[in-house]
């Protein structure tokens, strides 16, 4: 029954095939591994496969696996798309492919060295001079840029597709900052967690040897004399499409994630601006393109790079991989000459062919292209020319003439490629297993004299039928790629380490990340403080609406005004009486208006931005909560759905999630500088917000009826009403309350407790002062804490003739001023490196890291 069903599933898939497919071999027989996979899927059942698919999608979203798409209005984080059906290649076949890839990498490395060296390829007539001098990837300042290793091309990614003859064809080279290996790894991790049984009866090769090999290579490149070399993974920043991958790989590999602004060249070396001061950098793995690396010698308008970087590389003080200049190899025209280059350098034939390519700079090829346009795709030889590939067969006669005219005018700028034909592969689309076109990206890393090929890769399949759309920017699907065999006992590849395996014991905290962490603490607490107090106020309002008279009572007015003070959303409830009569309108605006500084929506938005800017700091649990907070954020932005009845439910949910966020931080975050800065930001905000409420509630003495309401609200705001009642029962007095919220050392929301915590945190952060001396921030906190401890509570509770509690008000103002100074001081001490460099131009285009 089962076997029959399996045959049926396979049969129904087979019957839908309209071109050659991965499942079938050249003789039309089903490949054994695919048979096994189909049988496993059958056992699982399509419905279950669908369910798992949903889990996978959720998991990826929870893990924050995204691919940012530029140009969308809200800077959309597009969730990564993963198809649960993997792409299978048999180990034996893969070994052949790997050989082809290794040969290709060796060749590209030789080309790279030749083009930035003697240029014999041109002198000996193997390639036309245009491939160097009309190549936008050839950077003249890079002619003396050399890595200390033999291989200059360290990382290489190749896009492949299967041709009708069953052979893999090389379609594209990625040589400057290859992307995708992080997504590949995450795909594998999620698949093995959520669909482990799919691999039943197969042995799937591991990906980790590739990453070990990479770490090994990086280690060999770094300063041998240093025990713990400083390795930086350089990203263009959170706005880049593949920022998830940058952060993911940095933490997986154990390198410091940094942006150009985090780095500085000084005395010919590269330094990381960390909160412990400047730290010398040994190796940089860059994810920014060549031309953006150094505004001094390359693109002048680049704010992503590091001025002076090229000089530092020349002097051998830092190793950057891939070496700037490697994009010279990404010119499409090289495909037309690879066969000759291979013979020239290696005296052998290409193992894996490139897709057939014609460079139009030669008359014969030009004529061929002009007369065979229907079979060809026309491209510019140089990438990034804003010229999109043109399918000859899709053109009208007049469009074709226009294109021919364009090509004939500057033939050397154009290439033509045989329209790539791809195999289809089983994909799960809307609950059905259907054939879709797919292409595969493979990853290689130099290791000594050889290239290590990842045993797997990133397969992208087209979401639409009979068309090939794989770019992630246009919504492609990805697949885990399995290199399969039935021998589980296969000897794992041995990685020979040249140094102890622990690579980067010391991961520095770049100043920019430090600043983000500090503000995460502040925004989180700021949001929570406003929500908390808003909830208290709404409760009082509801009580009044249901059980009180129609006239607004004095205490409600004071609470609403305190809310305005607390959120600094002036004039708010301070000016217009109208707002008082229908407070919900203002309250809802205060919740949902993203454009209003101080609103809950605006604080959460800043919080989420800061969180994603340091995403390498978070574990999975944290991401899950951040995702929930993000959902809550989307909810509250929708003001139309909010009213006096449901607003509290939404706010409660949000508050609880943020509390959970802090809880996970408290329970699981390593007690390092990252943690201390986040905590410090949180404490500063908590102190300031609590002081604000006390000041506005009790700065002026009111009748005891009003004050009793305010005391209760304030105690709830400090999470203290229960403790208070245990001691004082139902007797409410300002004096007893102040004694508790200012001085009670055991209560986490008392001022004295928070100030002492802050003091201790500051003491543990790296100090810029000598020995035991206090820095300014520490002095301010000590002063504030002492002022509170010396406070004379009965005197503070009293009012002067005009019923102002001026002594209380002034004391709290002073403490508030001191704590604000702490924040300014920390900024100067730890984050001031984050000053941007000045450029005389507006950025023209953004560095893209498209997969």
């Amino acid at each position: 029954m089962l076997a029959e069903a399996s045959v049926n599933l396979l049969q129904s898939y087979q019957s839908g095939l309209s071109s050659y497919d991965e499942v079938l071999d050249l003789n039309g027989r089903i490949k054994p591994y695919w048979k096994a996979l189909f049988s496993t899927m059958e056992k699982l059942g399509i419905d279950e496969l669908q369910n798992r698919n949903k889990e996978i999608v959720n998991k990826l979203r929870e893990n924050g696996v995204t691919y940012n798409v530029y140009g969308t209005p809200d800077g959309l984080n597009r969730p990564w798309q993963l198809d649960p059906i993997p792409f299978l290649i048999e180990q034996k076949e893969w070994n052949g492919i790997a050989k082809g890839l290794q040969q290709r990498a060796v060749l590209l490395d030789l080309i790279l060295k030749d083009l930035y060296g003697p240029r014999n390829l041109i002198k000996d007539g193997i390639i036309p001079a245009e491939l160097v001098f009309d190549n936008a990837g050839f950077f003249r300042p890079c002619t003396d840029i050399k890595l200390s290793s033999d291989k200059q091309l360290t990382l290489f990614a190749a896009d492949m597709a299967r041709g009708p003859d069953g052979q893999m064809w090389l379609v594209d080279n990625r040589t400057q900052a290859p992307s995708g290996s992080g997504y590949t790894l995450e795909n594998r991790i999620v698949m093995s967690k959520l669909l482990p049984e799919l691999a039943d009866g197969m042995y799937v090769s591991k990906l980790s040897p590739y990453f070990n090999s990479l770490q090994n290579t990086v280690l060999k490149l770094s300063d041998k004399s240093k025990e713990a070399p400083n390795i930086v993974y350089m990203t263009p920043g959170p706005n880049n499409e593949a920022y998830f991958e940058h952060a993911y790989l940095a933490s997986y590999l154990g390198y410091t994630l940094a942006q150009g602004d985090d780095l500085l060249v000084r005395n010919g070396s590269v330094w990381l601006k960390s909160i412990e001061g400047l730290q010398k950098v040994d190796v940089i793995i860059r994810r920014i393109d060549d031309d953006w690396c150094d505004p001094l010698e390359l693109r002048e308008d680049s704010r992503l790079g590091v001025p002076g970087l090229l000089q530092a590389i020349r002097m051998g003080n830092v190793q950057v991989l891939n070496a700037p200049g490697s994009s010279v190899l990404e010119n499409h025209a090289f495909h037309a000459f690879m066969g000759n280059i291979c013979t020239y350098f290696l005296g052998e034939k290409l193992i894996m062919p490139s897709v057939a390519t014609w460079w139009c700079g030669h008359v014969k090829e030009l004529n061929y292209v002009l007369s065979h346009m229907d079979e060809l795709i026309i491209k510019k030889a140089n990438r990034k020319t804003k010229f999109r590939s043109i399918y000859g067969r899709l053109l009208s006669a007049s469009e074709k003439d226009e294109l021919k005219r364009m090509i004939s005018q500057k033939p050397h700028e154009f290439i033509a490629q045989q329209e790539i034909s791809l195999s289809t592969t089983p994909s799960l689309i809307d609950g059905n297993i259907v054939p879709r076109y797919a292409a595969l990206r493979a990853f290689l890393v130099a290791n000594g004299n050889e290239y290590h090929v990842m045993q797997g890769g990133l397969t992208r399949s087209s979401p639409v039928k009979d068309r090939f759309v794989i770019s992630n920017q246009y919504g492609g699907l990805s697949k885990d790629t399995w290199i399969v065999s039935d021998k589980t006992g296969e000897v794992p590849e041995k990685i020979v380490y040249t140094a102890p395996a622990s690579v980067n014991k010391h991961i520095s905290l770049p100043s920019q990340s430090a600043e983000n962490l500090f503000w995460i603490g502040r925004y989180c607490e700021r949001t929570m403080a406003v929500i908390k107090f808003m909830n208290i106020t709404i409760n009082v309002l509801n009580l009044d609406r249901n059980f009180g008279g129609s006239a607004k009572q004095e205490h409600i007015k004071i609470l609403l005004q305190s809310l305005t003070h607390l959120s600094a959303t002036y004039p708010g409830f301070l000016e217009e009486e109208e707002r008082m009569s229908d407070p919900y309108k203002e309250i809802i605006d205060l919740v949902s208006n993203t454009n209003r500084p101080g609103s809950i929506a605006s604080s959460i938005s800043s919080f989420l931005n800061a969180v994603s800017a340091v995403r390498n700091q978070w574990n999975m649990e944290t991401w899950r909560i951040v995702d929930l907070i993000d959902n809550g954020f989307q909810e509250i932005r929708n003001a139309g759905h909010m009213n006096s009845n449901n607003i509290q439910k939404t706010l409660d949910g949000l508050f609880n999630n943020m509390f959970t966020f802090l809880g996970i931080i408290a329970e699981s975050m390593p007690r390092d500088n990252s943690f201390l800065l986040l905590e410090t930001g949180k404490l500063i905000e908590r102190i300031l917000s609590r002081i604000s409420v006390i000041q506005s509630n009790f700065g002026v003495k009111n009748s005891s009826g009003v004050e009793n309401e305010l005391i209760e609200a304030t105690l709830i705001n400090h999470h203290l009403l229960v403790s208070y009642r245990q001691i004082y029962k139902s007797h409410l007095s300002v004096e007893a309350m102040l004694d508790m919220i200012l001085l009670e050392k055991t209560l986490p929301f008392s001022l004295v407790y928070m100030l002492d915590e802050l003091k201790s945190n500051l003491g543990r952060l790296p100090s810029t002062t000598r020995g035991e001396r206090l820095n300014d921030a520490q002095k301010y906190v000590l002063q504030a804490s002492t002022l509170i401890k010396l406070a004379d509570i009965p005197a503070l509770s009293k009012s002067n003739g005009k019923s102002d509690r001026s002594e209380l008000f002034e004391l709290l103002s002073e403490v508030s001023r001191l704590i604000s100074s702490v924040s300014v001081n920390l900024t100067n001490m730890y984050f001031s490196h984050t000053i941007m460099h000045h450029s005389f131009f507006e950025p023209v285009d953004y560095n893209k890291d498209e997969i």
Binding site: R140, L296, H837
Partner: protein, 291 residues
Amino acid sequence: MKYKLIHKTEYRYAEPVSNYHSLLCLTPRTLPDQLCTEFRIEVTPEPSQIFERTDFYGNKTHYFSLHSPHKKLTVLTTGMVERQSEMTGSLFIPSVVTCREARNRMLNERSLKIAFLEYILPSPFVKWDQEIMDFAQECFLDDKPLYECVQHLCRKIYTEFKFVSDFTTIHTPIKDVLAARKGVCQDFSHLAIACIRSFGFAARYVSGYLETLPPPGKQKMQGSDASHAWISVYIPDYGWCDFDPTNNVVPGERHIVTAWGRDYNDVPPLKGIIFSYGKHTLSVEVDVIPL
């Protein structure tokens, strides 16, 4: 001729600059007809090190960085340069290679193509279109010697364009210069190069200095007492020949060469990246003193 060369550049910043990276391309080249016997760079405030490098074109560049806050930066270079009377340029036997022949050879002789292709192709600051070709059309006749044609072009630019200092910046497109018929030496050089390349010949940008003759009796030369720029054109069988479209002269003893490249972008005399929010002002003083 022997010259003492003084080139002083001063930046003043409204806000203190705490980080500065700079690349200088100011050292006179040593050539068969030019000798640089002495060269010194003084930077105030003083950087901890100045790194020398020879670039892709054989020009000498110097890199330095500053890391303490400063509101004023001075780069002073001084040098002694000996210029011999021209060996290229004013030809005793004028080159007779015609435009047609020159173009064919540049296209078809591999060694020529490999050596000069980058000076024939468009470069960052030198691009052209039909309008620019139309402008130069009358100068480049297939049967005429290339050398004469370039002279014709330089004369045309000299007579039809006005030297106006503040009209253009280095980023003004050639087309705007062509439309306004005014500019400075960089603009005229870029325009001339665009014209020459558009007809398939190799031309490069030369950066340097020009000695100005004193006014009495003689007409003062434009572009005096400042950095100067002119062009060099490759004439097959003869070599690189310099032309000065700004002054319509064949560069000779009074032109001192510091660097060449495809265009200005390859050889800016001084460029820098600063870390600051504020504005800055710049003053440049150049003296070319005959000894």
